[in-house]
Symmetry: C2
Subunit: 434 residues, 2 copies
């Protein structure tokens, strides 16, 4: 394998090399764009018939009606009942913890009354319907069903509709069991851009949703971007990343394995270590070399570490935090003895795993917080998936007569300044009222 | 003028006619897309030089350096000082009220400790830098500066950078005064896709921001869509809309003027009345006919009402609320004697103006809540612009040893189920630790 890149923050070209290490351009493939545009148009115009035709063509799955592709509650419960006891209880414990954490995110309506009787507020409501895309095949993760579905149900979404392709009819029982545990309301075994179109526009059988969440391949991502506006979407995720800040107090094998856990996702995944101790970095490199051959996904890990990984020597932990803020990593592990002072210095990260016991894998499955996190530096401006993504706010304005008459003058002055005379007149009518 | 459309919810084709009334497709213009793509690439590669060249070409404004196009605090303060006293105090009162309302939206960090010592939480931080686009020319609204800038500053954004084109050097003193009142940190007199590119990628003179907000023309909207991901953006707004629900208890002139206030924005603006009383609808139609000729923007109002307006007779107020939820209007006026029961029935709206005194124009300028609201049915899944758009969350996970060792088994089971053995091993290393 290629060795993992070594950098030092004191290198004269460090800034440029860090920038090139982080660079990632999501390629936009014109042939994918054209195919997706065609599929979405067909689904919008022909509804069920188009979805059935594409499902036959892409998933080799035939059905007389789209209703035949809906799974029943019995199917989901059977999948759950069929799991080995250990898997079932792990899934249920993870769901319970994720639910408990997310319940703390629920937003509440508020209002206040001013002296003249004017009442202002913010009314919070849930989305009526949400769609959850779940990929088929090898990228099909039950944990992802929990992480996407539970916030929606905690928010109070009335109907959560999951779509999951089942090529040639092959179902993933873990995914269906997770849907049962998470409280998904309806499941259709469709996928691809046609499933996104069905959720976004609605068909005879599938109701239009208000927002679509969940990961997918390039076709699904392109389709989500295109239906944005007609429905809400979550972020389109880039490759997964971990940044580990170490003070050399930990076990190098743990650090190596934590880097592997990120790198095993795919070759584009990014795993970076920041540490002020050259000796510890050397030990981690030795652990990587020793442990890698024993990993079932060694090839993927090796490719990821070689192309996108790095072991970076920094001056001190304060500089490590500054670099972390520049990277705004999806996952940040603070593998240090005393993480509290560092937590205070971190402004941009999807999730912080503080201390040696807080390994990312716990957050991926069962610690409680969401594992859908902002990637590719977007933690500078966005947040983990949460209950708040399934709630929205409505401003509430109830003016008293006195309030309207006083503020009407202000509004009128400003409206005239903008040349909007009807705005001004509609305010003045209230000012002039007896 | 064409008469305004009359519909009744009891018409057999009502659903179809309502759907076609609401239909609005934002046209994507290929020539705009190509031009914007070229401009963004030039700004990304050539920085200041490209911005200067486009500003010369599009705005007929020449400068030796981009720094010459930055306005100073003195420029902004001079604009404010130069306003007539009434305008200045209106602007300051509006800003104070908007600030007071938005301060209630501030999100706070939280955490909790579990029995085994594990601490979970959510850390809230502000964006470092935000960009505010302000259009030049006739669509340049000082109120829009307040509504976009104040939430950012309340959130704690460290540096708020405004861009506003000044074709041929013509500045809008009201806009600059609003920037002074709102606490904008830096102002550059640039616009168009080149300004969006400068904010999104950064240049030698203009620092990269984390999010760009504010309205703009088709070029600006296309540029914002394209830089989304590199930076955050707000929603790309469609035409403005008002839906008025009347119980016939109000003054028909008020209702007519409130419809005008929406319709005067532009010909695509949409103003719709729902009322169960045919006689009142007739009176509103008479008010429209009588008042319209006196309006300075009569031509725009007439075109908007003729193409996209409607007076709709409904069975009762409950049906009016159901239709409102289907429309999910940007602005909803409840022009009724007792709005409270109706407020409870409304699930989807950008802002609710409750009662006869709560005219939309007050909300546009100075009631307090934001006037940047979700359009084109997107209130089904999105919210008014707010402080929360300039804050983001980081999940915080600090496991205790006992917590990691118990949950490590759960994570390991689930990770093996997903075929992610390095995830499993990294959790197991903690479980096995002495």
């Amino acid at each position: 394998m290629n060795p993992i890149l070594r950098l030092s923050s004191s290198d004269s070209d460090f800034d440029a090399r860090l920038k090139s290490l982080l660079a990632f351009e999501a390629a936009q493939d014109e042939s994918i764009e054209r195919a997706v545009s065609e599929i979405l148009t067909a689904v919008r115009l022909e509804g069920d018939a188009a979805v059935l035709a594409y499902t036959k063509r892409f998933d080799k799955l035939e059905a007389a009606t789209l209703a035949d592709l809906e799974l029943s509650r019995v199917d989901l419960d059977a999948a759950l009942a069929g799991l080995p006891a250990e898997q079932r209880s792990a899934l249920e414990e993870a769901a319970a913890r994720v639910r408990a954490y997310h319940e703390r995110q629920l937003m509440q309506s508020w209002d206040y009354v001013e002296e003249d009787g004017t009442r202002l507020g913010q009314k919070v409501t849930a989305l009526d319907r949400a769609g959850l895309y779940v990929p088929g095949g090898k990228a099909s993760y039950p944990s992802s069903v929990l992480m996407n579905a539970i916030p929606a149900k905690v928010a109070g979404v009335r109907e959560l509709i999951m779509v999951v392709p089942t090529p040639r009819g092959e179902r993933n029982p873990l995914v269906l069991a997770a849907a049962a545990v998470a409280g998904v309301d309806r499941v259709f075994t469709i996928g691809g851009a046609q499933a996104i179109g069905a959720l976004a526009f609605g068909t005879e059988t599938i109701p239009q949703v208000d927002k679509i969440v969940g990961p997918g391949n390039a076709y699904v991502a392109a389709a989500k971007r295109r239906v944005f506006g007609t429905v809400g979407i979550d972020m389109v995720a880039g490759p997964s990343e971990v940044l580990i800040i170490s003070d050399a107090s930990g076990d190098p094998d743990w650090t190596a394995m934590d880097l592997f856990a990120q790198a095993e996702h795919d070759e584009l995944a990014q795993a970076i270590l920041l540490c002020p101790d050259a000796g510890f970095i050397e030990k981690v490199a030795e652990s990587i070399a020793r442990l890698l051959p024993g990993m079932p996904r060694a090839a993927t890990i090796a490719a990821s570490l070689a192309h996108r990984g790095a072991l970076i020597r920094v001056r001190d932990l304060a500089e490590a935090c500054a670099i972390a803020n520049r990277i705004a990593p999806e996952h940040l592990e603070l593998a240090v003895e005393d993480p509290e002072p560092l937590i205070a210095q971190i402004h941009h990260a999807g999730a912080i795993f503080a201390g040696h016991w807080s390994v990312e894998a716990l957050g991926d499955y069962c610690a409680g917080p969401n594992h859908v996190l902002p990637t590719s530096r977007s933690a500078r401006f966005s947040s983990p998936l949460g209950v708040y993504d399934f709630q929205k706010r409505t401003s509430l304005i109830r003016m008293s007569k006195a309030g309207a008459q006083r503020l009407g003058r202000v509004a009128s002055t400003l409206a005239h300044g903008e040349g909007l005379q009807a705005h001004a007149r509609s305010a003045e009518l209230r000012v002039e009222a007896k």
